[in-house]
């Protein structure tokens, strides 16, 4: 699940650069257009062929829907269960969004505090790492012992998502250009002025990179915790629908819910990429074409 966003990241990050080219010869513009069309068309063709083969195999081999439903049936289920599934999508997205917001604030906030005091950084950074490397699926049942299911799900989403924000922002804050830092101290800038006018803008691209990873991860965290919570008989998010449908052998609905989770992940990723691009398009190397 974590592989998909990272491969999509590379594909996406090259595209905005292509759009920024100005004054390029017509032939180059046309070649670029073809390249973009191919990038869009090829995965769609693969999807269409894959779905057709799937549908054919299920029909020709007479596979019963409780073993493997055909794509057509999954689509029908999606439409038939739309009210139920839409509610679940909203529940899961709400948790994901809240977890993401907390992770963003927590990650950036901790990074700033760590950057201001080496003492605090040395004291607490190892525990942030421990929180990150312990699989969340193993932490979730324990959290459910102490917290309301909804709160536990939120905490899980936060635990998974905050670390990339913390790690990336910390790196950004530490990699400020030395000459610029000298310039600020030459003009007698206060710590707050340095933080606000130099360190945070400098760290912004790193921070946004962390947030892009955190968006996907907060969905992972929310789903993992929902699945753990559903065995305790609580919740109504998409992941809960999946385990519920599993008990009832409603395999088409499992697929339908899974499809929606995937779509949610894709939307989250592209939304964050868009924010990233809008924030950096004027100045950062990643969003600009190199000078000829």
């Amino acid at each position: 699940m974590t592989l998909r966003p990272s491969s999509a990241h590379f594909r996406e990050s090259r595209n905005p650069a292509g759009e920024q080219r100005t004054g390029s010869p017509l032939s180059r513009g046309r070649a670029e257009l073809r390249e973009r069309a191919l990038r869009l068309a090829l995965p769609i063709i693969v999807l269409a062929v894959g779905l057709a083969v799937w549908e054919l195999v299920v029909r020709l081999a007479n596979i019963p829907p409780y073993v493997l439903p055909a794509p057509g049936l999954i689509l029908k289920t999606l439409v038939a269960d739309r009210v139920l599934l839409a509610q679940s999508v909203l529940v899961t997205l709400k948790t994901t969004f809240e977890g993401f917001l907390l992770a963003a604030c927590g990650g950036v906030g901790l990074a700033v505090i760590f950057n201001q005091s080496r003492f605090i950084e040395y004291s607490f950074y190892p525990y942030a790492v421990i929180l990150q490397v312990t699989p969340v699926i193993a932490i979730a049942p324990l959290l459910l012992v102490y917290l309301q299911p909804q709160a536990a799900v939120l905490v899980c989403a936060w635990i998974v998502a905050f670390f990339p924000v913390l790690a990336n922002t910390t790196l950004g804050l530490h990699s400020v250009d030395r000459n610029l830092a000298d310039l600020f101290s030459l003009y007698g800038a206060s710590r707050l002025q340095i933080l606000w006018n130099l360190k945070l803008p400098w760290a912004l691209p790193y921070m946004l990179g962390g947030l892009r990873i955190a968006g996907g991860l907060s969905l992972v965290g929310a789903v993992a915790a929902e699945i753990a919570a559903s065995s305790a008989g609580a919740g109504s998010g998409l992941a809960y629908r999946i385990s519920e449908a599993q008990y009832r052998l409603n395999i088409p609905r499992m697929f339908a819910a899974l499809l929606l989770l995937s779509l949610a992940g894709i939307v989250i990723f592209y939304l964050l990429s868009l924010i990233n691009h809008l924030a950096l398009r004027h100045w950062h190397e990643s969003a600009l074409e190199r000078e000829g």
Partner: protein
Amino acid sequence: MAAVMASRSASLVALRGVGKIFPNGVRALGGLDLDVREGEFLALLGPSGCGKSTALRVIAGLSEPTEGAVQWLAGATRRQGDSRIGFVFQEPTLMPWASVFANVALPLKLKGLSAPKAAERVEAALERVGLASFSAAYPRELSGGMRMRVSIARALVTEPQLLLMDEPFAALDEITRFKLNDDILRMWQTLSTTIVFVTHSVFESIFLASRVVVMAARPGRVFAELTVDAPYPRAEDFRTSAEYAAYCRRASEALAQAMAAGGEA
């Protein structure tokens, strides 16, 4: 020896027996005595690694000497945090996320100057370096020479008493460098400020400076001093004159001796 003593005017800042040993044990400066006189254009000339940049950082207060003292003329700029020092780095060192205007306005902003008051001075500084029409541009959109001009405008915006320049044109092509040399001389004359200019180019130092101090390495110290008496304004005719060539030859000789004394090949 090519050293010539110049007529003494008041020292704006004086380094007395300044030494600097870095934490890794490297002795960058040792027994450095240097006077920066008010209103002069002083060039620090030396081979790479002779500590000329370190000397500049010590003057700016960005680096504390491990021995000796830095004395300021009474009533003059003291040290770090004083807007009457301007510093131009070897790189343009601009904030990539900020427009040209915002970059030049930075020193005033850090001083807490109100935006309208700052705007006038920023525009004047940009006018001075010939970039008045680029105030909304981002550094990425400018050429190397233009970025360096922005950097100079930023250093000038506080109207500094002392402008410190650390090999500012070393990374630029020769045509751009000559143009900027002409411009910096014109600015120095109209602003009547004091400039300390670090360079490893004999030709640049003679063209610009009223006094050239040649430094030797290991540890960094003053090796020779050369007063360039040619009158300002200096332009293309000075650059091609026999007088200029003669000064360059003397400076080159001093530099060669300094390098021999500093143990360089």
